[in-house]
Amino acid sequence: MTSSFLRKFRILFSALILICFIIVFADFKSLVPAKYIDYLLIPQFVPSILSFVSLKSLAASGFIFVLLLTLLTGRTYCSFLCPLGIGQDLFSRIGGRIRKKFRRYGYKKPHTILRYSILAVTLAVTLIWGIYMLTLLDPYSIFGRFMTYFGKPAVLGLNNFVSGIFGKFGNYSVPHVPVRGFQLAAYTIPVFFFLLVGTLSFIKGRLYCNMVCPVGTFLGLISKVSLLRIKINEKTCTRCGRCAVRCKSSCIDFLHYDVDVTRCVDCFNCIQICPEKAISYGVLNANNQSEPVTEDAGKRKFISQVILLLFGFSRLAKSQDKETAPHPSKMSTVKENKTYPVCPPGAGSLESFNKKCTACSLCITACPNHVLQPAVKEYGLIGFMQPVMDYHKSFCTYNCNVCTEVCPTDALKPLLLDAKKLTQIGKVVFIKDNCIVKTEKTACGACSESCPTKAVYMVPYEGNLVIPETNQDICIGCGHCEYACPTKPYKAIFVDGNPVHAAAKKPEVKESEITSPTEFPF
């Protein structure tokens, strides 16, 4: 095919995909039902493989589709389905517009050693030690973090700007949504990658995809035997070089009529630009030239500069949390002693969760209560940026199971709402010596009031006072008590994580002694 239709179709399709991804991640009103999110995420390569390994079922077979697609069409995944790839195309375009003169890419030698080393190290680390490298380098997860850490707050900022203007006229139809930051350390990696991917795509097109991304490199290997590919007709080609100048992957060696299929992402820009219609997309007719192996061009200097930039930027990023916590006159004295962090419902156990989560942060952005926060030290190194329940920030809504529904890697297994309400992710612990009722001798009960199962209840204390008591059997570890507890700096009640999630007992149901009145009691 030599028609420019291919390029138009690519742009339209990928724009749709990117818009869908942006909507899903920026959806602060929880408007998109979880099943549609699932459809969108099925073909994401790394999450799909992880899900397949976990479920051992063909239900999670999106990656097989991607493999077949690559065998048939080459690296179309990178241009049509990968949100990070599409996002880079957008960045390149903006970059081209800003640097007014025509963007010239031109043929470059591949970074062969670098890219295959990254792929090999990623595979080795993943198979031997754990998920570290995939968390860092899975393109979908990188995109997810960009949206969660930067994209969504930007959308919320816009919403709040509009809300403020409406509010000036007494109109409440656009509710103000507080923007909440994460722990500062959690930003380091997303900021680093944002600078890296952003700058590379801004200046060099798809260099990140062809130098760093392990998925790109892997699919590139498969593309070597793909059926359909870009080819140059040696008879009509005038070697004008426009195709090479236009190629985001810098992979067209027009002097030798060669296209490096391991780097070509099938964007079809070359087909459209060729004045002789010498470039087409179709079945290759044998005599495939072997690619030359070259040394990796030194971009180390660039990378070191990016790292320097990162340090500057991370200092600038500030947590937006306002100090709104209440202030009792006495400070609490006993430190909360958490044995384990609390991992989200559906995780099953800390161990299996830490192994499977790539920190794409979709659950973090989907959580309507903002209780899921990126971990910094809570899980150790393996769980850096993975979601952890932070009960000082918020609590887990009893009537909600969204995080378990959206997870694409099966790190959080789907839980029906009724099952979630009986899944014990942690157990309540009461520290009497911190409690207002004991220290101030006044009524409080904020914890018990918040408890959806009455695992925290009040028993008589001194005089007319009542003080909390706990029943761990029916506690599900939602953390509402910990969140509501007004003591500072330490809470008087907290949830200690279950390393292996357990089943909570159903709350007891007893008929009340009070009956319907027939006369007014006054």
Partner: protein, 307 residues
């Protein structure tokens, strides 16, 4: 005559010296906001639907026209605390809220606003309580109270603990404030009703919990923007595991309603509905002594209606 008697008695009940200050604002409340046509201090209705009981009860107080004037901006403040279905009675009956909004508009209200600072996620709570839909269908504006941006700091002269508090900005703008609590058991204060419902118009509830909850509840009663009408929903009453409840077994159908201009009296009557003496609920005697109202039910002119 009744009114004077009431004053004498509440003073006789033993006002603290400092409360004399606050007495002034209470006098102002009665003078400016209670219509002259009201014959009763408290109207109690039993045996009908929440809507029918309200229709009947409000007539005894001179109709909604006695409280809402043409062109006024009205706040109707139900309890929308918890993300549960109406049957569990953790939130005010949505049908009742709707009927009250309708009465406000009939009386000539320009705008009616409904909001609460929810305990659970506000979007889900507004929705699942059924109140958002019910109030909107009657023409009310159901507005958010989820962000500190909506709150403004005010001071409460005469307060013991709660000297200043951030209240929802609509409270400052509105002409009429109607309090529509639901009567519920409460794990720590034993009961939540009229006065405690005010924890939903402030931003920082934690402060109340940490600084003598009962005193703060009573202190808030001194704030000048008082409800001109309190309508207590006692149709389905959560008698244990309050204020959130766990199951339907926590709820008893009482098919009752209390309408009053005196929120301390409303709380006292409501306490009796739960089978608790008003004196046993600390904030009621505190509020009584501060001159916020009259908890002595036998001194009040009460109209009792059975349907």
């Amino acid at each position: 005559m009744r009114r004077r008697e009431f004053f004498r008695k509440s003073i006789g009940a033993g006002m603290a010296a400092g409360a004399a200050l606050s007495f002034g604002s209470y006098g102002k409340l009665l003078g400016s906001e209670t219509p002259a046509s009201a014959k009763y201090d408290l109207v109690a209705i039993m045996g009908g639907t929440p809507e029918a009981m309200f229709d009947l009860g409000i007539q005894e107080l001179g109709g909604m026209e006695a409280f809402v004037k043409k062109g006024q901006k009205v706040i109707v403040k139900p309890n929308i605390g918890w993300d549960v279905v109406p049957e569990l009675a953790a939130n005010t009956n949505p049908g009742l809220v709707k009927r009250i909004v309708e009465h406000c508009f009939k009386a000539g209200a320009k705008e009616v606003y409904v909001f609460d600072h929810t305990c659970d996620n506000w979007v889900n709570t507004y929705k699942n309580s059924g109140i958002e839909k019910a109030a909107k269908s009657a023409g009310a504006k159901v507005v958010p109270a989820n962000s500190e941006n909506y709150y403004q700091a005010v001071s409460i002269p005469g307060a013991v603990k709660l000297k200043s508090v951030k209240v929802h900005q609509l409270l400052l703008e509105a002409d009429v404030f109607i309090n529509v609590p639901i009567l519920k058991d409460h794990n720590s204060t034993r009961m939540t009703c009229c006065l405690k419902n005010m924890m939903g118009v402030v931003w920082d509830r934690g402060y109340w919990h940490a600084n003598n909850l009962h005193q703060c509840i009573a202190d808030y009663g001194l704030y000048e923007k008082k409800p001109s009408l309190n309508i207590v929903d006692c149709y389905n009453v959560m008698v244990k595991h309050g204020p959130q409840g766990v199951s339907k077994e926590d709820v008893v159908q009482m098919k009752s309603q209390i309408i009053t201009t005196d929120w301390v009296a409303g709380d006292a009557a409501a306490a009796r509905m739960l089978g608790v003496e008003p004196e046993r609920i600390d904030y009621i005697p505190i509020a009584h002594k501060m001159g916020l109202g009259n908890m002595m039910l036998d001194t009040l002119n009460i109209k009792r209606i059975k349907m």
